[in-house]
Each structure stands twice: as structure tokens, then as C-alpha cells.
């Protein structure tokens, strides 16, 4: 795996260029959409617990807001780069567009490692981040959300700082808040469930009964767990789950031919959220190499861990029985591997469609916050299902009609909608 050479923003631009050619976009629109509209770089000084002052580097990138206020998470990561944030903000634009919610795309981040920071220090970073950008974000401009190593508590600190600065209550300023503090029911499950809603529709199109399918999942985080839960409820059988082991600093795959039991595996997690090797073995799971998940003889692969996981070097180990790949993670498949998958006729549900359940539910959260009226879980999840299904059908119909790859069809729909919004506004 050549991860050092991997530049996510270059990958995002390549994907865009390919579709721009198909759509025959004019030069102005191309220039506008292949780069973010706004990039904010700032310093966040924080008085540390030991009395010293440390300055953290923060970003906010607003790729495009032609279709509505920008929307995107905030990542706390020691290896955060502006290229990653730019790529992710671009993908957010496409993601919001493909599921047809009235939002643009953005992303933010701070170069820091929360593992080495006290809660007070993390709070100072959150408040400092908001202070730096408080007049360039907001419920009608750009709505942040939790992302890598940020959570509901971070969102509440940010919300509090924002409301203090502006002197009013703005519950719709940020999403991913805890339920009861402006959060939406169903948000936790939304991404994983959304992945399965699209799998269900893909299976229907392929005329396959979900109850007669098997799956292999990479990851055991929030997305993977809820995807496993709903897929199992539909009658499917997950036979392999791959997960990072913090202690061993490598990934392992956990296999059970009779089907993994989610409750059982949840009870066997260690304090980092990974699956405990000893406990899993006791429960009858076969422990395999971390890459083994990809070569399982299953109908469905669900990469739901991180980017750059299905690559040129391992794509050929995908079993010939695999019919569907549903990308729960962002960017798990490299363009080179994508070519092989397309050639092999595997039904691809691209990341920004498959995992759009999260942002869709965030949008619902914002809607609820702006009304200050909150829906029941049935309401949220039924709306989510309808929205995801509708988005999937739009994409698959285009793919069928034009006889093109699902990822290309999804990009065509998403980019076309954004390009059209830019034109309608008179920007290009």
C-alpha cells in the first residue's frame, strides 16, 4: 500500500474532471467546482494545563454553497492536512447534492491529538476554533458537525461559544448534538442504516432476496455496527468483520460461517472500541489477517472503516461471488481499484451515496433545531429511508439508462445539480 503518495484532493479533482468531461461543463464551471470557494486557515492559541501556551492550526474549507448553506464535519487529527480537508469538503458538496438536500459542502479540522489533551484543553480548542470563524459560519451559512475524533460534547462547546458571541440562541448552528440538547433521534444509526437501505434497493434491482445473502464488513465503528444490525434484521448474514486492534497496532478479521452475532461482538469490545481477540476466540470466531475481509466468499462487501482500503494491490483478491460493494466509509476505493471493480461487473454503491444517511439525518437535525420541534425516531428513520431510496433510484436509473458505472452516475447527478445551481444563481 503506497499511502504516502495518496492525495485525496487530487483524487477528488480527478473524479470531478472525468464527470465534467461527460457533462461537457464549460471552463468557468470547472474552475469553480474543482476548487473550494473559500478556505480559512487560522491559529488557535490555547493555555495548556501546565501553564504554557500552545498554538493549534485550524481550518475551515467551504467548497460550494450554491445549493444552500455549507455542511461538513470538524476533524481533530494530528496528521490533518489541508488537502484532506479540501477533498472532504468537495465530497460533502457531492454527497448533499446526490441525496438532494438543500446544502452545500464544507469541512474543517484542527491539527491536534485529543488523546493527549485534557477535556479542558479540548474545550479551549473548540471555543478557539469558533472564535476564529464565528462570522463565516452559522445556521444559514455553514453548519459544522462531529467527524474524526470529535463528538457531541465538542459540538455543545462550539455551540455555546457561537451563541455567546452572537448573543442569541442558534440550535441549528451545529449538528451532532446529544439528544435532549438539540440532537436528533436516529442520528447515531443513520449512516449505517442508510448504507443498508441502499444495499436493500440494489438487491431488489438484482432480484436477490436479502435473506439469502451474506456479507463481509470492514470496520466495527458506528457505521459498521448499525449496518450489520439492520442488514441482519433484513435476514442477511454477516460472516466476517474486520477491525483495528489498538494493542497490536494492526487490523484483524473475525470470521464465523454461521453468521456474526452483533450483540455478542459488542460485548467483546475492548476499551478502544475494537474487538478483543481473546474474547472473540472464546466466542468461536476465527481470527484472520486484517485483509481477509476482502477475500471472503460473500455477496456483499461493506468497507466501513476508512479511506484507501480497496486498492490496486488487493482488488483482485475480491471473491468472484461478490455482487455488491457498498462503501460505508469515505473514499475506501482508489480509482485504480475502481476500474477493476467496474470491469468485473460488481454493483458499486459509491461512498457519497451509500453513506449519505449521516448528513441527511444531520440535515433533519438542523431542520428540527430551526423549528425547535423534534420528531420521533420513526419519523426520522422513515424520512431517511425514503430519501436514501429515492437517491439510490435516481442514480441507478441513470446508470441503467446510460449504461454507465454507478459511481459515474452518482457524480453526474450530483455535479450536474450543483453546476445547475451555480448557473441559476448567475455565478457562471
Amino acid at each position: 500500500m503506497d499511502s504516502k503518495a495518496f492525495n485525496p484532493f487530487r483524487m477528488a479533482q480527478e473524479q470531478f474532471d472525468k464527470v465534467a468531461d461527460i457533462l461537457n461543463l464549460d471552463q468557468g464551471t470547472r474552475e469553480l467546482l474543482r476548487n473550494p470557494m473559500r478556505e480559512y486557515h487560522f491559529s488557535i492559541p490555547v493555555r495548556m494545563d501546565d501553564g504554557t501556551t500552545k498554538v493549534f492550526k485550524g481550518f475551515r474549507v467551504q467548497h460550494n454553497d450554491a445549493r444552500g448553506p455549507a455542511k461538513g464535519g470538524i476533524r481533530f487529527h494530528p496528521h490533518e492536512t489541508i488537502d484532506t480537508v479540501k477533498a472532504l469538503s468537495t465530497w460533502m458538496t457531492w454527497k448533499c447534492s446526490v441525496v438532494d438536500i438543500p446544502l452545500g459542502g464544507s469541512k474543517g479540522g484542527v491539527i491536534c491529538d485529543p488523546h493527549n489533551l485534557s477535556l479542558r484543553e479540548q474545550e479551549q480548542i473548540c471555543r478557539g476554533w469558533v472564535r476564529q470563524i464565528a462570522y463565516n459560519i452559522g445556521p444559514l451559512r455553514d453548519i459544522p458537525a462531529p467527524d474524526v475524533m470529535t463528538n457531541g460534547q465538542h459540538m455543545l462547546w462550539m455551540l455555546d461559544e457561537y451563541e455567546t458571541i452572537h448573543g442569541k440562541k442558534f440550535p441549528g448552528f451545529i449538528t451532532g448534538k446529544p439528544v435532549g440538547m438539540g440532537g436528533s433521534l436516529g442520528r447515531t444509526e443513520a449512516t449505517g442504516y442508510g448504507v443498508v437501505f441502499t444495499i436493500r434497493e440494489a438487491l431488489r434491482e438484482l432480484a436477490i432476496n436479502p435473506a439469502e445473502t451474506t456479507a463481509s464488513v470492514q470496520g466495527f465503528g458506528n457505521v459498521a455496527q448499525y449496518a450489520i444490525e439492520l442488514y441482519t434484521q433484513m435476514g442477511g448474514k454477516v460472516i466476517c468483520v474486520a477491525c483495528w486492534d489498538q494493542k497490536e497496532q494492526k487490523a484483524f478479521s473475525f470470521k464465523k460461517e454461521t453468521g456474526v452475532n452483533l450483540e455478542e461482538l459488542r460485548s467483546a469490545t475492548d476499551r478502544f472500541g475494537g474487538i478483543d481477540l481473546v474474547k472473540a476466540q472464546k466466542l468461536g470466531y476465527e481470527i484472520l489477517d486484517g485483509e481477509a475481509w476482502i477475500s471472503q466468499e460473500v455477496d456483499i462487501l461493506i468497507p466501513a472503516a476508512m479511506e484507501n482500503q480497496i486498492r490496486k494491490d488487493n482488488v483482485n483478491s475480491i471473491n468472484t461471488k461478490v455482487k455488491i460493494i457498498a462503501e460505508g466509509a469515505n473514499g475506501p476505493t482508489t480509482p485504480e481499484a475502481d476500474v477493476v471493480i467496474q470491469k468485473n461487473g460488481i454493483f458499486m454503491i459509491p461512498d457519497f451515496l451509500a453513506n449519505a444517511g449521516g448528513v441527511t439525518c444531520s440535515y433533519f437535525e438542523q431542520v428540527q433545531c430551526n423549528m425547535n420541534y423534534y420528531w420521533e425516531k420513526d419519523e426520522v428513520l422513515s424520512k431517511l429511508d425514503i430519501k436514501m431510496t429515492s437517491a439510490f433510484l435516481d442514480v441507478s436509473r441513470l446508470a441503467q439508462t446510460k449504461n454507465i458505472y454507478m459511481r459515474d452516475a452518482a457524480y453526474i447527478i450530483a455535479i450536474n445539480r450543483v453546476a445547475q445551481a451555480c448557473k441559476d444563481r448567475g455565478w457562471v
Binding site: 439492520l230 434484521q233 433484513m234 420513526d378 428513520l381 422513515s382 424520512k383 429511508d385 425514503i386
Partner: protein, 579 residues
Amino acid sequence: MNNAGNQRKYSRDHRNSIFNYLGKGELGGKAAGLMQIQKILENENLHSDINEITVSIPGMTVILTEVFDQFMKQNDLYPIALSSSDDVFIAHSFQKASLPPAIVGDLRDLITKAENPLAVRSSSLLEDSSSEPFAGVYATKMLPNNQPDIETRFHKLTEAIKFIYSSLFFSESRDYFRSIGRKVEEEKMAVIIQDVVGNHYGEDFYPLISGVGRTYNYYPVQDSKREDGVINLALGLGKTIVDGGSAWIYSPLSPQSPPPCNSNKSMLDNSQREFWSIKMEVIKEFNPISEMEFMRKQSIEKAEDDGVLSLLCSTYDYQNDRFISGIQEKGARLLDFSPILKYKKIALNDILKKLLHICREQYQADVEIEFALEKITAETSGESVYHLGFLQVRTMQTLADNGNLSQLEYLPSALLAESSSVLGNGRRDDIYDVVFVKPDTFSAINSRTIAREIAEINRELTTEHRPYLLIGFGRWGSSDPWLGIPVTWSMISGAKAIIEATLPQMKPDLSQGSHFFHNLIAFGIFYLSIQEDKKKTIDWNWLNEQKIIRETDHVCLVRCSRNMEVIVDCVANRGVIVK
């Protein structure tokens, strides 16, 4: 799904068939019965000589039983459901829970496309089995489904589904399970979402006629035989019949014969005066845990204003003390369905006879069916045709062994009671306890209180597994407290023999509450009716000498020192209780 058949998985992007299902698992008794009948209806040529009525099962979607399992598990509801919490608490706990994510999108799609009012009904695994009938134990909810926004309609649908689920754990259901020695945890619930058969009339929606037909008549009158069967008809929703209210009862072999009545005035007094409809107006009070949230009872004058009585009524001609078919004349209306039954304006009886015959043949047993009739006006010609919605079928348990009382003679002093109008057949000698309504202080004004007091004693005796004899006045199970004690089956579920007696101040015709008597017969419970003006009577003095175990204002529980013997002979129509 184990029930193979002509149903298919709910689909959002094409027109659905009559039967659709959501989730996995079983259909439950009610839905399985309907599916079986649908197959028969498709093969039978019911309409060859009856053009003006079409027959079909109203479109329905069944939420299969595994969805119930997922719902209970994901919301961790069993600890509350199996606790001794009251019904309201249980219902609210279920309302707060979420339905499984795998079905909510389909439900939203379903409600988006549904145009008519919907009935949300239970279809449990044990329900409608002939050996242990659960009919009427669980809730049904009618939804007008006419709110302008999909959000509200979806919300009302999910509320109704959760309410039906919760009704499995209501005290009535739990008492019932206790009475049959089973555990409520064994039960699994499927839910039917079905189009309601009926028409819009202003701010109401109701069928022209709803009814119940049985191939075996527990109360044959005049020249009819038990095997001739019986049909109950009512205006509006079937709740009138289910609750044991006033309905028109006739034999399908002699539809023109009215039920026996002392006088025309008495017939009028005992005929249907009110009917149930679905409220289609804007609801001002919300109560998701009430079965009646969207239903109301109205007088038949409202139906006359709606223009629906012309086929259903006769008019009382007071000058000549007779009834004239139709409503051309002014006068009191009698809902006797005479234009249909006497003058065959619609060949409803012919269709019902056929359906009963078909179902009897199919099940190789006596059956009970439920149906409703709606009017359809052809858009082009403006002509009216009718659609009979087939709503339910279940087998009846009819009488088996003969008690053979015809040859036995008893000294009157040996008997606690004797009756010449009985239901049931056989004998039992395990009863020591008698629960009776005190005759000296009885007044119909207290009948609701009496029902509650009996339910309390019933619960105790059921818990102790003590079978008992129940004695009361008027129609057991009547929804009208002035005509009898308004108990539901679960309130008297431990009674193994029941006496329905009359007093001078309470002497209505005996009841034939549809589900109530189905339960009596299915459990082999003996039923004896004793009219005060007959020679047969009850030995109240002997009862008052027995040891009082519990006494309330209106009800008394006594325990005899030795067991009584109850003998009932269906053929001889005679029953005795030997002290």
C-alpha cells in the same frame, strides 16, 4: 415466511397486490384465514348470476410477526409489558418506543399512497384458532387517514401499530391468558393494515352494512335448525355486532322471517337505533391509546340524512300497527333490511349463503365470517353497484357429546337451578364456588359497577384456579348497561357455567354477542338461561345459606361445602345444576 400463498413483499415502485407483507415471520391467524379465502374467491365464480355485488378481500398489508419480536427487543419492552403495570402505562411505554427501521420507510410509502380510511388490526399466532379463540381480546384501531399532511398520517399509523402491539399485554389479555393456562410471552403479533370498506358521508365514513354470518346457530328460533346458520346485520361499522349491540338477526334460509318478538313496538325498541362510523372531521382531542379515538356512535337519523336508509329500513305504520318496507312514508324506522332481505333489491343473502357454504366446505367445520358492504357508483354511467368486503373467517367450535338429560328426572329440592334454554353439552363436577349478583338489591343503574366487582372476583378466582358458576341478570356482555351487565369476556373468563336470569326490572331478550358466545362455546362453558316467568327458577335461599367468601355492594361469592354437578343437554335443550 412459512405461510406460502399469493401474497408478496411490499414494493414501493409498482402497484401492490391485495396481499402484501412487511418484514419476516408469520402472518398470524386472521391474515392467514383471509389469504386462504382470497385464493378460494379467485377460483369461485361467485358473480355468475349476481351482477350487482362483487366480493373481495379489502387490500391489506401485513406486518409479520418477526417485526413484533424486533420491536420488543430493540426497545427492551418485555420488562414493562410483563410487569403488573396498568394498561395506560403499558400503552404509553409502547408509544414512546420506535418501530424497527427496516419497515418504517415502507410504512411511510404506504401511508403516502393510501387514500381511504384504514383499519389496523391484530393478527396474532393464537388468534382465531378454533381451540382457543382470541377474537376480541386485542385492539383494533380505525384511522381516517385524511389529514392533509403525510407526517400526521404516518404518525397516526405508527401510533396505531404500537397500540395494537401493546394491547397484547393489557390486563384483559393477560387475564385471558391466565384463564387458559398459557403465558402471554408465547404469543406473537402480526398486524394487518387494511382498507376500510365503506363510503364517505359528510364527516363520517362507514359501510352500508356490516355483518357476521355463522354456519351454526347457537340460538335457533321458530322453525330454523342450528345447522341452518345465522346472520347478523347492522348499519355502519361492525363494532355494533362485535359489542353485542342491537343487530338484525335472521336465518339465511328464511331471510324474510323476522326474529321472534312480543310486539311490533318491542321489535322497534330492540332494533338498531345507533351505528358506528369513523370520524373524518378535524379531531380536537388526541388519544393514541384509545381504540375509539377516531370512532363515534350516531343515531340512525344521521344515516337517514346521509341517504343510506332506503335499502335498509321499514317504516312503522302506527295506524295499522305494521311495518312498510322502505322509507317512503313518515314514521319510526326499523332497521330490518327488508328491501334487501324481503324484496331482494340486492342479492346479499344469496351471496352470503354461497360464502358460508364455500367456507364451510373449505374448513370442513362450522365457520364464522365477517363482512361489510359498500356502494360503488360507476363514474361513467352513474349506476350503483355494491362491493362486499370479506373481512374475516374463523372456525367455530360446535357441540360434541350429548349430556343426555332427556331421560333424567330430579326432585326440585335437589337442584340449585334448572333451565330449558341452554348452550353447551356435557357435565362437570368440579365447581364449588358461585358468584352471583344479589337479586334483592339489583338495579340496572349499577350494572357497570357490578361488572367491575365481578371482574375483581374473577381475577382472584382465576389466579387461584378455582372454576365457578356465575349468576346474573339481563344480557351478559351487553354494551348497553340497561340491558344487562356490560362485562367483556376477560372479566368473567374463569366462569365455567353461566346463568343468565331475568328479574321483573331486567328482562330483555337474551343476548347473542358475537365474540362472547364464540368464547363460551369454544371453552365448553355451560350457559343456562332462566326466565323469571317460567317454572324453572334458582334456589336463592340455598345460595344464601352457603359460606360467604367475599361480598361487595352488589355481588357475592359463596363456597359450597361439596361440589355441584352441572349437566347440560343441548339436544333436549335442558340444563340442571345439582346441589
